[in-house]
Symmetry: C2
Subunit: 404 residues, 2 copies
């Protein structure tokens, strides 16, 4: 049985990112539908037409409110399904209701938003923007607003995708995230699983976003079957990964570290030099992090390292700011001054300038103060400034995770 498949297409804003499309793809995947592609296309009829999924697939389209994206979507889907554009009373009523709530009349130009291909089903979530769906033979299309798709996604798209997975066969994916180990080492460790789909799930090792992910994909006649197949392979693969696996799917390293701090009732303070705030930013991206994140200092200059952390001038003179003694003095300084349970410090050379033969760009020291002890590790990262910053925070969080 071939699982139900889907394509996610976001219309407009090509130079930008596609966080909305990624969210939709994740929701479809969790509902048992296999997402084959995720595209950003220009606000252009030919480009969108080309991006529509082929027969027997679901295409979810996210259309921005600005510009002509909505018109392009309506025209392309009408043409693709051979339907005429007609006024949908339910969509018109939903739009009028939205304007009524903000005490404004529906603008004339907004009325054309209610012109949909004949046969379309309008989805009006309890809160949030309306969306619509259109089925044509074995092909299905869903159009969500790019902003505020959340409500329609949960209330309508997920059940719609589940029903497709039940009718076509399902596929579930799982991402096991690792830190502190390379792709080649993981491939060796997982050799018996790679390229062996008959063991219940396809397993692959993929470098992604500055870490290495182990991806599992299990097909099944139903979502429940796929979940069962996935669970069996997942527990075996997770056991092989051991402590190198820190989380799954959307669990970030900062989320996992925060959870452990919270469980143990510990507070954390950070001292950042070359990462310039990225470590604090990642830690405070987690809702509720104020319960354990006490403070941070961004000590770019040597003067700041001395004033805010008490790094001895002697350490800076003898070893330089990028050194194990400095990283340890920074960790000690932040934990003492913040009176926090843990202290994490990063100092290094992010580049592109500032490297020397002895300390090339990418040289980074991470210091960790925990339970009265201070340790440090030396890293040498490849890549540009953004990558060195990212990897530095990744390894700092991983050091703390393993120590907890």
């Amino acid at each position: 049985m071939t699982p139900a498949v889907a394509h996610v297409v976001t219309v407009g804003v090509l130079p930008g990112g596609d966080a909305e499309g990624a969210l939709v793809a994740a929701a479809l995947g969790a509902a048992g539908v296999r997402v084959l592609s995720r595209a950003l296309v220009e606000d252009d009829e030919a480009a969108l037409q080309h991006a529509l999924g082929p027969d027997d697939s679901l295409t979810v389209i996210l259309a921005g409110a600005g510009g002509s994206a909505g018109d392009v979507v309506r025209r392309v889907l009408a043409r693709a399904t051979g339907a005429r554009l007609v006024l949908h009373e339910r969509m018109l009523a939903a739009l009028e209701e939205r304007y009524r709530r903000v005490d404004r009349p529906l603008p004339r130009r907004a009325e054309r938003l209610a012109l949909l291909p004949q046969g379309a089903t309008v989805w009006v979530p309890a809160a949030g923007e309306p969306a619509w769906a259109l089925e044509s033979g074995a092909r299905a299309f869903v159009v969500l607003p790019r902003d505020g798709a959340g409500a329609a996604l949960e209330e309508h798209l997920v059940p719609f995708a589940r029903a497709r997975a039940a009718g076509h066969g399902a596929a579930l994916t799982r991402t096991l995230r690792t830190a502190g180990v390379g792709a080649a080492a993981l491939e060796e460790r997982l050799a018996e699983w790679l390229g062996q789909p008959d063991r219940g799930a396809e397993v692959s090792v993929v470098p992604a976003e500055g870490e290495v992910w182990v991806r599992l994909r299990a097909p099944g006649a139903s979502v429940e079957d796929a979940a069962q197949a996935l669970a069996a392979v997942e527990s075996a693969v997770a056991a092989a990964l051991g402590a190198d696996c820190y989380g799954r799917d959307a669990e970030t390293l900062e989320l996992v570290v925060g959870r452990r701090l919270l469980e143990r009732g510990l507070t954390l303070a950070v001292a950042e030099s070359c990462t310039g705030g990225l470590l604090g930013h990642r830690l405070t991206n987690v809702p509720g992090s104020s319960a354990y994140f006490e403070r941070g200092v961004l000590v770019y200059s040597n003067r700041a390292k001395q004033e805010l952390l008490g790094v001895p001038a002697e350490v800076l003179r003898a070893h330089g700011a990028v050194s194990a003694p400095c990283a340890e003095a920074m960790a000690r300084g932040i934990v003492e001054r913040a009176q926090s349970a843990c202290g994490l410090a990063i100092t290094g050379i992010a580049g592109p300038d500032g490297g020397t033969p002895a300390k090339p760009v990418g040289t980074v020291f991470v210091g960790l103060a925990l339970g009265g002890a201070v340790t440090s590790r030396h890293f040498r990262f490849a890549g540009d400034r953004a990558q060195v910053k990212w990897h530095s925070t990744q390894m700092a969080l991983d050091m703390l995770r393993r120590a907890l």
Copy 2:
């Protein structure tokens, strides 16, 4: 004349981002080729085949080294062009040379990387990974390694794209980035330009990445013609945008602010509460920022606000940590303690918890200390935690930019 068009496809790692694809798209755009879509597709033959651009287009494929992405690409392109896979000596030699440099023999499984569709042209840049191109009628395909595409991109793909733009007609795009003004207001201000392609360039207003972009696209018989048409419209539109436009294309707000600080020889220190390091992170993403970024403090707790910035207990008691007096005290505190020329402070409620009827989630105060004066502004941002953090740093940087 219809301009040369292209599609960019990255194979593998669907849940991740696509920074590499965005770089390739930007390079194609600058070479005069119009990029119609950018897609991330699963490591799957049917998915890739569907994503290939139609007749009369260029498809650039980025294939990761891990997994079977390379095999999938070779097989799909051979089938799409009706060519057999044959051993390419030049590719084999390039691969052997790469392994020789690290003193290892070419592994047997790496030999299949030299099996390419008959008629393919191998590109071997002076440094970096080899790539290849394949033309079939009016359709062209270029395959770049996902990691280390840089050299082949500059040395081979850009001239290849330029030649296509010269043969087909060119199109150039420009993004004018704005801050501190909404999409609706910009649409009103640019009414005479929107939807008027006969004025030399198409102009559109698109909300993107927490700001609003004005995008221009000018066609021309050649890249030079397109550049001329673009320049004329750009200067008129830029004049209409005035100080609300802070930069173009890849120029970020932190880059523009950093440039002004550098020009005026000023230093900056920051004090962040709800943004938790994002402001420092953005500022230090700019290479060379150590010349003006002195330090930062992440004062999540009230104790940290008092200890590190000297915010008076009386201010916290009477107005709370999220208030104009606190933002101003923070700005004053950081500029005095860091002895920097400028001080920027952010305090607010990023959510999802912590809001009250009087100060709901999204309430943010930004304080600016500059030339002895301290000012503050009150904002109320919509969106989730990540969006509130982003908008807060955006408005803080914009306040500083306008003050400089």
